[in-house]
């Protein structure tokens, strides 16, 4: 009987666990260790953050789902991984009791999601800092409450400046921040106070519409439409100001300090700010048989798990080598350890990085959306099933071969809402297969805004919660 341990119960980890237990059945033991006993449908926290969705509608208890599927669930925070042959186990700290828990494994999936590194920017974040976040449910609730206070001030006639974007020169997830900004815009219009607000998009992107994926180009009748032009048109229409090529360096009450591409230092005042922090890998201890620190064999400096990618290539080389991206998400030193979703170390950025004259790297990190995380979770699970049943892996999918469908909400109303629907293929441009300026398939890639997108985003919320609850037909619903 093989023992498979999955650390994490988000899009990647939960997807992996569901496929593992379904394909392996009771002959093998699938365990999930997670510090969260609820599954979180993160995409809807944008709506929680503007007070348009109750927080409890975005989560559900994992215990009953795992019991029904035959998965052992351990509610603990993983702390140590012992990967050496003959002595492979994970040590966690049980939530509540703080008791040590040990799970032995034959195969391990690290699917932890990011460590939200608010500390990487002094003054960032709602706990030790002055800005807000929608990256966790408690933070989204806090952001909502603070946002509604700002709305009250606007109703009293006060002008308020709202700044949304990235809170670190190397942050990612610009898409989520964009959604939050546009939902705020729509909400303020509906509340009749939009003219009291100055909205500013502050981001580390090279251009508007970059989103950490080098932007998008799509065919629009006979022309090529660039996401930069598209987002600029949207922002102009919505009276949203923007400042890109900017890395936030520290925050104080009412003031954001930044450095831009030109190496100039500046500051921007704010009344309410939601800025995405830098992501890092979870800081586990990786301990060898003799007690030695073996983390260099497993993770990079940021704590993301090394997999079967080609690392340390200069950007101009990486850009021309889409095969440098991993396909099996397997650690090269410990072949029974896999990493899925945000936990794996990407070989580099998708968007072109920038180093200022002061030596600051202002470079959007590559995003891993829910869909991508789910696909990788599935690939990893099926490869582990292959190894157990056949002794060799048959599933491979690089991000340079993967399609991503993203729906960026710009207002949740089913009557007059809005969203941008994007299909990006492949996620990581491949100029060898698609010798266009974008390196993507212009027949498949798509970017369209409208009410239909709002309906689709709403549908996704309920469809995916159905899927992640493992209810009938869950496998038919794509990741």
């Amino acid at each position: 009987m093989a023992k498979i341990v999955v650390i994490g119960s988000g899009f990647a980890g939960h997807t992996a666990a569901m496929y593992l237990c379904t394909k392996l059945g009771k002959a093998h033991q699938v365990s999930v260790m997670s510090n969260n006993e609820k599954f979180s449908y993160i995409p809807s926290w944008v709506w929680v953050g503007v007070g348009h969705m109750a927080p409890e509608k975005t989560v559900f208890d994992l215990g009953p789902v795992y019991r029904r599927m035959g998965v052992q669930f351990v509610h603990a925070a993983a702390r140590e991984i012992h990967p050496d042959s003959g002595d492979q186990y994970v040590v966690g700290e049980e939530i509540g009791t703080k008791k040590q828990v040990r799970l032995d494994y034959d195969y391990l999936v690290v699917a932890t999601g990011p460590k939200l590194n608010f500390a990487g920017t002094p003054g960032l974040g709602p706990e030790a800092g002055y800005t807000h976040s929608i990256c966790s449910l408690p933070h989204a609730v806090k952001a909502r409450d603070a946002y509604l206070e700002v709305v009250e001030k606007m109703k009293q006639g006060q002008k308020q400046r709202i700044v949304i974007g990235t809170g670190h020169p190397g942050a990612t997830c610009q898409g989520a921040a964009f959604e939050y900004l546009e939902n705020i815009h729509k909400d303020l219009v509906k509340k009749g106070v939009r003219q009291q607000a100055e909205l500013l998009w502050l981001s580390n992107e090279r251009t508007l519409g970059d989103f950490g994926v080098r932007g998008m180009q799509v065919k629009d009748k006979d022309q090529i439409l660039h996401s930069a032009d598209f987002i600029e048109a949207v922002f102009k229409d919505h009276d949203i100001h923007w400042q890109t090529q900017t890395g936030v360096t520290r925050i104080e009450p009412g003031k954001i300090h930044w450095e831009n591409y030109a190496g100039e230092y500046g500051e921007t005042e704010y009344d309410f700010a939601m800025l995405i922090p830098q992501f890092q890998g979870q800081p586990f201890k990786y301990i060898g048989k003799d007690g030695a620190d073996v983390s260099a064999r497993l993770v990079n400096k940021a704590g993301f798990v090394l997999v079967d990618g080609i690392y340390d290539l200069p950007y101009d080389v990486l850009e021309r080598n889409p095969d440098a991206w991993p396909s099996a998400y397997q650690n090269p030193n410990y072949p029974n350890i896999f990493a899925a979703g945000i936990a794996f170390a990407p070989p580099g950025p998708i968007s072109k990085p920038h180093i200022t004259k002061n030596g600051t790297s202002i470079s959007a990190a590559p995003p891993r959306t829910g869909m991508v995380s789910g696909v990788i979770g599935r690939v990893v699970a099926l490869n582990i099933v292959d190894l157990i049943k056949r002794g060799r892996m048959t599933h491979h999918e690089r991000m340079s071969e993967m399609v991503a469908a993203c729906i960026a909400s710009m207002g949740d109303s089913l009557w007059d809402g809005n969203a941008v629907v994007m299909i990006m293929y492949p996620i990581v441009p491949d100029v060898k297969r698609f010798p266009t300026e974008s390196g993507r398939d212009l027949f498949v890639s798509l970017m369209e805004m409208g009410l239909a997108g709002a309906w689709m985003k709403f549908m996704l919320h309920y469809t995916f919660i159905w899927k992640f609850k493992g209810l009938p037909g869950w496998q038919i619903i794509p990741e």
């Binding site: 048109a233 369209e448 009410l451 794509p478």
Partner: protein
């Protein structure tokens, strides 16, 4: 580039957007089907 009035009307037209809802879902499912081959 500016969002034209025609574009904005299409964005909010219920009938047109219902058509786009069907088309976009089909496009996404077809694109995703490629991914399922892995």
């Amino acid at each position: 580039m500016l969002l034209s009035d025609k574009y904005k009307k299409r964005m909010s037209s219920k009938l047109f957007q219902f058509w786009r809802f069907i088309v976009l879902n089909i496009k996404i499912l077809r694109a995703v089907d490629h991914s399922k081959r892995s």
